[in-house]
């Protein structure tokens, strides 16, 4: 496995692979955070999560095109505006979906799964009709391109660094919102005991709507960030959904920390295996490992033992 590489080379391999793993980790975390909130906190299976991401990506694409045409001076910073708009667009759509569909389906998780799959099909076709079937690319500002050479053999792509920084920032914001703010307290109260939370004056319907919107909004930001590393097409969202769900389930649905830990484990495993095995084999092995571990520990990595 290691033959043919010198020690120094192996060192750089592991450093760069570690970094590649970290980028993948960031990508997973971004994808999974929104889902962890929706699935973990609300118990809703949102199969259209990928499409909410792609909506964010398309918003970014629109911004990129508009800004480069009408305000080229602002181009270097358009990305931040695009992310905010992506959050708002996906979040609003999420709230609309919650209001029109999800709220009738609480307590029927398998049915939300089917209904949101239907939603994902509709969104895909809308994307196709509006933006065309062809994949669109987003032009990145120059400062996001290229890489930083740490040593002769170790180079770190800047957009990777940016995605990582963004991931960290979003994670911190979510942590503060969910665990430090009064609103987050309300959300957790509703999720733990709906009736009681209602009784003490929390508007549970509103909490549901905003929570779902928040989860979808984060998906939008994730989609926006993905335009830097991946492609945006009408069906791109579907590619992510299984991976994302496995990350969330593997982490233990109720725990944000678990989601992060599981994203880390899966991304490092996949990235390392990809280096030594072929891409397809790595993917199969990663998925299988996750499934086997889930069978041994169905509640996921991190979960509170509760009294039934």
């Amino acid at each position: 496995m290691f033959e043919g590489y010198s020690l120094a080379e192996l060192g750089s391999i592991f450093a760069m692979q570690g970094f590649a793993g970290l980028i993948l980790f960031s990508v997973f975390v971004l994808m999974a955070l929104g889902l962890a909130i929706i699935f973990g906190q609300m118990g809703v299976i949102n199969m259209a999560h990928g499409e909410f991401m792609i909506l964010g990506a398309y918003v970014t694409y629109l911004c990129s095109t508009l800004v480069s045409q009408h305000a080229p001076a602002l181009f270097p910073v358009y990305f931040f505006v695009a992310m905010i708009l992506a959050f708002i667009a996906s979040g609003l759509l999420g709230m609309l979906v919650e209001w029109g569909m999800i709220r009738f389906l609480y307590k029927r998780p398998l049915d939300t799964l089917l209904a949101t799959w239907g939603l994902s099909l509709i969104l895909q076709q809308i994307f196709r009709s509006v933006f065309g079937a062809r994949e669109v690319g987003v032009v990145l500002p120059d400062w996001l391109m290229g890489s930083v050479a740490v040593t002769d053999t170790i180079e770190v792509p800047i957009n990777g660094l940016f995605v990582m920084a963004l991931t960290m920032a979003i994670t911190v914001v979510i942590y503060v919102v969910m665990f430090r703010s009064r609103w987050g307290q309300g959300v957790r109260a509703v999720m733990q005991n709906r009736t009681m939370a209602g009784a003490v004056g929390i508007n549970t319907e509103k909490v549901d709507r905003y929570t779902f919107g928040l989860g979808c909004g984060i998906a939008g930001v994730a989609g926006s960030a993905f335009t830097m590393v991946g492609s945006t097409g009408p069906t791109s969202g579907q590619l992510y959904i299984v991976d994302t769900f496995l990350v969330v389930v593997f982490g233990g649905a109720q725990s944000l920390l678990g989601t992060i830990a599981s994203a880390f484990a899966i991304s490092q495993a996949q990235s390392t295996m990809e280096f030594f095995l072929s891409g397809s084999t790595a993917k199969v092995l990663t998925l299988l490992t996750v499934i086997v571990i889930l069978m041994l520990r169905p509640q996921g990595l991190f979960v509170l033992k509760v009294r039934r």
């Binding site: 994949e135 669109v136 690319g137 391109m145 290229g146 990777g160 492609s231 590619l239 990809e274 397809s280």
Partner: protein, 419 residues
């Protein structure tokens, strides 16, 4: 019977003019219907009950207009329709206007087979222009062989196939690959190659041929990697590329993965102006999605580029843009799609018959001098003799042709020594 002989003796352009002129004569309308047909008796040119009347002939177009493949196949549909429109403008085939029945394969292989059967059994079309992926072709092939239809298949593909019922207007793998490899070895003094592709039959077979050729030339393959279709994380393999420092990255990544691959290459600091990358899977169509800034400098090995400088191509590009809009781009497969109806027309006229069996035989040696890619000729194995060209991707989404083979390359779908 005698009239059949007469018309057979006429050279086709002359006959066409003659017929058009005759049709214009008001006196002729007084003649019984059979009188016109006598010139090209339908019974004679169509002995197998195809959908050919005295004035029309039906053909099928079978591509995906929905689903994941729709985007790739749209160009072929447009090119085929353009060719058919042009042929009709010139008077049709054996004096018969072409009527198109278009079916949607919906990116789903059984649907392709089902629709192929419909076209052949229900509509009895004289030819079908269609299919894009190998999988769809494999699915319809038994149908064409069973019901004796004729398929014009436009995509460059892995080879290893030959059928009486298919004309392959795109290149098979050795045509596309070998000349390009030789050029890059000579031009860039390349000694080592890194092969990377999507995980399915075409990239794997192509890379197999490439590897054999590379090793035969005494050069080295330093890596060969495949990723599932739709894969979007290439950082690991890019690290591997950086470590193995190949002279040439040889890429056959397709679809959505393409965008991610080139973006991440660029982000990882691999400058394609310095690092030689040769791809066999990026045409002008794909360039649009990848974005010129991400791939500029890469070499693509194809038989056609939209920027080719020759009168045929200029006419073709102008006509295409007139019909489908100035924004449209034309890739290798689109051009190959355009060849299909023309080759069929020429063959029908050579055979003086729509019968599939006759077309299959008459196809050998058919020459199409007005082809946008230049002169092409049909080989006995139903593939085309064609040149191989190398183009360099530009920022604006076009290619600059940097090399073309001097001669037409013989198609060799079952290459000895490469299997």
């Amino acid at each position: 019977m005698s009239s059949d002989k007469t018309s057979g003796g006429l050279r086709s352009p002359f006959r066409r003019k003659l017929l058009l002129g005759m049709a214009a004569l008001p006196a002729l309308t007084l003649l019984p219907r059979g009188a016109i047909a006598q010139a090209l008796a339908t019974d004679a040119v169509n002995t197998t009950k195809l959908a050919v009347t005295d004035s029309t002939v039906k053909v099928g177009i079978l591509h995906s207009t929905t689903g994941t493949m729709a985007i790739s196949e749209t160009g072929s549909v447009q090119a085929e329709k353009l060719a058919i429109a042009q042929i009709n403008e010139m008077g049709g085939v054996l004096g018969r206007k072409i009527e198109v029945i278009q079916e949607d394969g919906a990116s789903d292989w059984p649907t392709f087979a089902e629709k192929a059967r419909k076209l052949l059994v229900e509509d009895k079309v004289a030819a079908v222009f269609g299919c894009w992926t190998s999988a769809s072709r494999k699915a319809v092939l038994p149908v064409f062989e069973q019901y004796n239809g004729m398929l014009y298949y436009p995509t460059f593909y892995e080879g290893l196939e030959q059928s009486k019922n298919v004309i392959y207007t795109g290149q098979e793998a050795t045509q596309q690959i070998l000349a390009g490899l030789d050029w890059v070895s000579k031009e860039k003094s390349a000694k080592s190659f890194f092969l990377i592709g999507s995980d399915y039959i075409w990239p794997r077979t192509s890379n197999k041929i490439a590897r054999k050729h590379i090793e035969k030339n005494g050069q080295k393959v330093v890596g060969e990697e495949y990723f599932p279709l739709g894969h979007t994380q290439f950082n690991s393999v890019i690290n591997k590329i950086k470590l193995t420092k190949p002279d040439v990255i040889y890429a056959s990544v397709v679809g959505g993965s393409n965008v991610a691959f080139y973006k991440q290459l660029k982000a990882a600091g691999i400058n394609l102006e310095k690092q030689t990358l040769m791809t066999i899977s990026v045409t002008e169509d794909e360039l649009l999605g990848i974005g010129g800034e991400n791939i500029a400098g890469a070499y693509a090995c194809m038989k056609y580029f939209q920027s080719l400088k020759n009168p045929n191509n200029e006419k073709f590009v102008a006509a295409f843009k007139k019909m489908w809009g100035g924004e449209s781009v034309i890739g290798d497969v689109t051009q190959a799609g355009y060849l299909g109806p023309w080759l069929w027309k020429l063959t029908v006229e050579k055979a003086q018959s729509f019968d599939i069996d006759k077309i299959a035989v008459a196809s050998e040696g058919i020459e199409f001098k007005e082809a946008p890619e230049g002169y092409v000729r049909v080989h006995a194995n139903h593939h085309l003799w064609s040149k191989t060209r190398v183009g360099r991707a530009r920022m604006d989404g076009q290619f600059d042709m940097v090399y073309e083979t001097a001669d037409l390359i013989e198609p060799d779908p079952f290459p000895k020594g490469y299997q």
